[in-house]
């Protein structure tokens, strides 16, 4: 067999192989709190608040003065993509009770529950950037939390959610999350989702990192695929009205500040569609494809923060945006799969993180931020491995899994990971795989209240506008635990559908003559007054990977930051 890695990497692999026996029964010390604090401060991108390359204070808009990652500031402090004078708002193509933007788990749940609440399917219009259901939701592997275990309760789940969020969560939102958890699972079960169960139907509950009870419900290691396709199939069976490849590029207002619909951009025919609606739900998901701090990402192609940008321009507050979740194990080799998730389960099953010298340098199950910082330190101090395309990484010693648990353990328990690497000629039962921290989850986002109404900084709602899912902030505080995000999109997606439906039933259809994009002109003026000169136009809809950009979306290290950092606007 030929070696799966180039020779300079194989030399390192041999060092890893040589220490495997000795590492097998190695006892790790948990890292003391002062040391992990120091590690985070030195190496984690979130702790570089005063470094302008990483963070910037917003100079315009409702959250002016708040500190956000530079890439987020770049999309917020940019000109609207739409030039209001290019759009004829008197040509209203669709008038609808409800406009839903985005079709991940949150958008799909909103559609189905608005329909359950009495809004006819033909009165719901759906805007989505790619195909129906193409989203981060489809990519999740691990599972969904809910407190239906015998030794569990909403109180215990709530405490875990708060501990995960470093006690900064919106407490009532976190309460709604946990109290509706079992109902969310029951609903998915009734739609025919296949969960991993015992013979008698009991769920096979698993432990999530940071949780104090077994509470993860899974569908093999394709949980998101299974749940998303069930929701899609139900929506399609009810004749959902979707405009695919028609992202929303701006909200419309009625002149008084209330939202009156959306402006959609048909990417295929390159024309605008004006949509007037009584209520609008934003469910556009996260921001992985902004490559915050220069990191590769696990996210889907359209995860570009669009909904948040549009909401910001009509006055929405944003919260908890100063913290970002980097997953410690994104693939780093081969180039084709850089950034893709290598599930935490590998480490739960015994794989260790090992440096170029074959040394295991950290207990494999520290919190995600600590693991990521430890890897960045190894790389930054020269103990990482660099691939032929310039991507740095650390070994994840996957052969240890079979060594500890017996032959076949990896292939049985980690089918998606086995498939991911063997496709490229790397057998993870024989060779370690190369990983690097990867941008995984947008912790913060649009501020909402318990009815999922989008709110301004003073807490008052923006009329007719709702939001749910990863695009919102508050539920998870500064950090989310694995499995709580899928729970969030079902619980709050449902809530946003119900709230928007109730609202639409009472609301009047905005007058055609009132439809306006004046808020965009106002925003441009604010940019000008703040002295911001930029060519950038947002929302960006899709990242720009053309030409050389294909290969430079990644790379972070203390000595050589942004080695391959991508400018999406280039």
């Amino acid at each position: 067999m030929t070696d799966p890695y180039p020779e300079h990497m194989m030399e390192s692999v041999r060092r890893v192989n040589a220490t495997r026996d000795e590492r097998k029964d190695m006892e790790f010390d948990r890292i003391p709190e002062e040391e992990s604090d120091e590690l985070l401060r030195q190496w984690h991108p979130d702790y570089r608040k005063s470094d302008a390359a990483f963070f910037r204070e917003l100079a315009v808009g409702p959250a002016k003065g708040k500190i956000v990652p530079t890439e987020v500031a770049n999309v917020l402090e940019a000109h609207p993509r739409v030039n209001p004078s290019d759009v004829d708002l008197s040509e209203v193509e669709y008038s609808t009770e409800l406009l839903v933007i985005g079709t991940g788990g949150a958008g799909l749940s909103a559609i189905l529950w608005a329909n359950n609440e009495g809004i006819a399917m033909e009165d719901i219009l759906v805007s989505t950037a790619l195909r129906l259901g193409d989203s981060n939701s489809k990519m999740s592997q691990g599972g969904i939390q809910a407190c239906d275990g015998k030794d569990d309760s909403p109180m215990i789940h709530w405490l875990d959610v708060l501990s995960g969020g470093h006690w900064t969560n919106d407490r009532p939102l976190a309460r709604d999350l946990v109290e509706k958890g079992p109902l969310a699972i029951k609903w998915l079960e009734s739609l025919g989702a296949t969960f991993d169960k015992e013979q008698d139907g009991d769920m096979q509950l698993l432990m999530a990192g940071g949780a104090s009870r077994k509470r993860i419900h899974s569908c093999k290691d394709y949980t998101g695929l299974e749940l998303t396709r069930v929701l899609m199939d139900e929506a399609l069976s009810r004749d959902v009205n979707t405009l695919e490849f028609c992202p929303t590029v701006s909200l419309l207002t009625d002149g008084s500040g209330a939202v009156a619909g959306g402006l959609l951009w048909n990417m295929e025919t390159e024309e605008y569609h004006v949509v007037r609606s009584k209520a609008t739900v934003i469910a556009t998901g996260g921001f992985g494809r902004l490559h915050v701090a220069g990191f590769p990402t696990t996210n889907h192609y359209a995860a570009t923060c669009d909904g948040l940008v549009s909401a910001y321009r009509v006055g929405a507050d944003i919260i908890h945006m100063q913290s970002t979740q980097y997953h410690p194990t994104g693939a780093a080799y081969p180039e084709q799969i850089v950034g893709l998730l290598v599930t935490e389960k590998c480490r739960s099953m015994g794989a260790q993180l090992v440096n170029d010298d074959g040394e295991a340098f950290i207990y494999p199950l520290e919190p995600r931020d600590v693991e990521s910082a430890a890897e960045l330190k190894e790389i930054g101090e020269g103990r990482g491995i660099t691939t032929p395309t310039g991507q740095d990484g650390i070994w994840l010693d996957t052969p240890m899994i079979d060594k500890k648990r017996g032959e076949g353990a990896l292939e049985d328990g980690l089918a998606a990971i086995y498939r991911l690497f063997t496709r490229f000629g790397i057998d993870p039962t024989e060779y370690p795989v190369l990983v690097h921290p990867t941008l995984h989850y947008q912790n913060g986002g649009i501020a909402i209240n318990r009815d999922t109404q989008v709110v301004k900084p003073d807490g008052s709602p923006i009329e007719n506008l709702f939001a749910s899912g990863e695009t919102t902030g508050g539920v998870h505080g500064d950090n989310r635990l694995m499995g709580n995000s899928w729970l969030e999109i079902v619980v709050f997606g449902r809530k946003s559908g119900i709230s928007a439906a109730k609202h639409a039933k009472k609301a009047k259809m905005p007058k055609k003559s009132d439809l306006s994009l004046a808020h965009l002109d106002k925003y441009s003026k604010e940019l000008e007054e703040a002295g911001i000169e930029t060519e950038r136009r947002t929302p960006i809809i899709l990242p720009n990977y053309l030409g050389e950009n294909t290969m430079k979306a990644t790379g972070y290290g203390k000595e050589k930051p942004f080695k391959r950092r991508l400018d999406l606007f280039a």
């Binding site: 030794d151 405490l159 079960e189 025919g192 139907g201 399609l236 053309l546």
Partner: protein
């Protein structure tokens, strides 16, 4: 822009280049790229034919031939490396109507599935679908399991299906496998797999308000008290608002 530093070429060995033909037109691209990245490198701004970029959504089905190889290959553009001399085109869409159904009105039997998809009885067991599947599944076996009445096996065999349509694009019996499989899995999940009673029970308890008083009190507590309660439950103790921290 100031924060955008140029690619450091010096510690990167030159990439080997490959010539690929996108719909017949030749392009020079680095040979370590996927088909998807190679198209972008060549200057195609992808709108269709891309979704997750990670092998989960089935949006990027691509057909190609290799140099000196008569065989027509079918694979995922985001998970397949380019090769020198590759001739390719993406299938942005595999046309297939999805019949609508109301699960509440169906029975979990193969007769029901065959009523909706009569064409599955025309399967000629050619196994082309299995050879086409980029997930290495066995769609033919799954179709045959349905015909035998074994919906559980069909659901299981098709579980990792990402609806890429590769099988359906090539099937001589014109079966739309992924729609068939979706129906079968939902019928299995809803009617054949037993329900989780503990879930329904907890939903009932919550709806009856069993936890309301405790939750009302809990969410108003100061942070240090909440931290104590967390440490208690983390240590495996039952939740109790009266409990003192540290007593196990």
């Amino acid at each position: 822009m100031s924060q955008n530093q140029e690619v450091e070429k010096k510690d990167q060995p030159e990439s080997e280049m490959a010539t690929i033909y996108i719909m017949g037109k030749p392009y020079e691209v680095p040979s370590e790229l996927t088909i998807m990245q190679a198209q972008e490198y060549a200057g195609y701004r992808l709108i269709r034919g891309v979704g997750c970029r990670g092998g989960y959504c089935g949006a990027c089905t691509t057909i190609y031939r290799k140099k000196d190889d008569y065989k027509l290959h079918i694979d995922l553009a985001c998970q397949t490396k380019v090769e020198d001399g590759m001739y390719l085109v993406q299938l942005p869409f595999v046309p297939a109507q999805k019949p609508k159904w109301d699960l509440e009105e169906l029975e979990a039997t193969s007769e029901e599935v065959i009523r909706i998809f009569p064409e599955i009885t025309r399967c000629v067991s050619c196994n082309t679908c299995t050879q086409a599947c980029p997930q290495n599944l066995e769609p033919m076996r799954a179709i045959q399991a349905i015909r035998r009445g074994d919906l559980e096996q069909a659901a299981d065999l098709s579980f990792d299906c990402i609806s890429c349509g590769a099988c359906s694009a090539r099937c001589p019996a014109e079966i739309t496998h992924y729609h068939v499989f979706q129906l079968v899995r939902r019928l299995y999940g809803k009617y054949i797999q037993p329900k989780a009673e503990h879930v329904a029970q907890r939903v009932g308890e919550i709806e009856e308000g069993k936890f309301d008083d405790q939750m009302d009190e809990l969410i108003e507590l100061p942070e240090d008290r909440i931290r104590e309660l967390f440490l208690d439950v983390r240590a495996g103790n039952e939740f109790s608002l009266d409990q003192n921290s540290g007593e196990e």
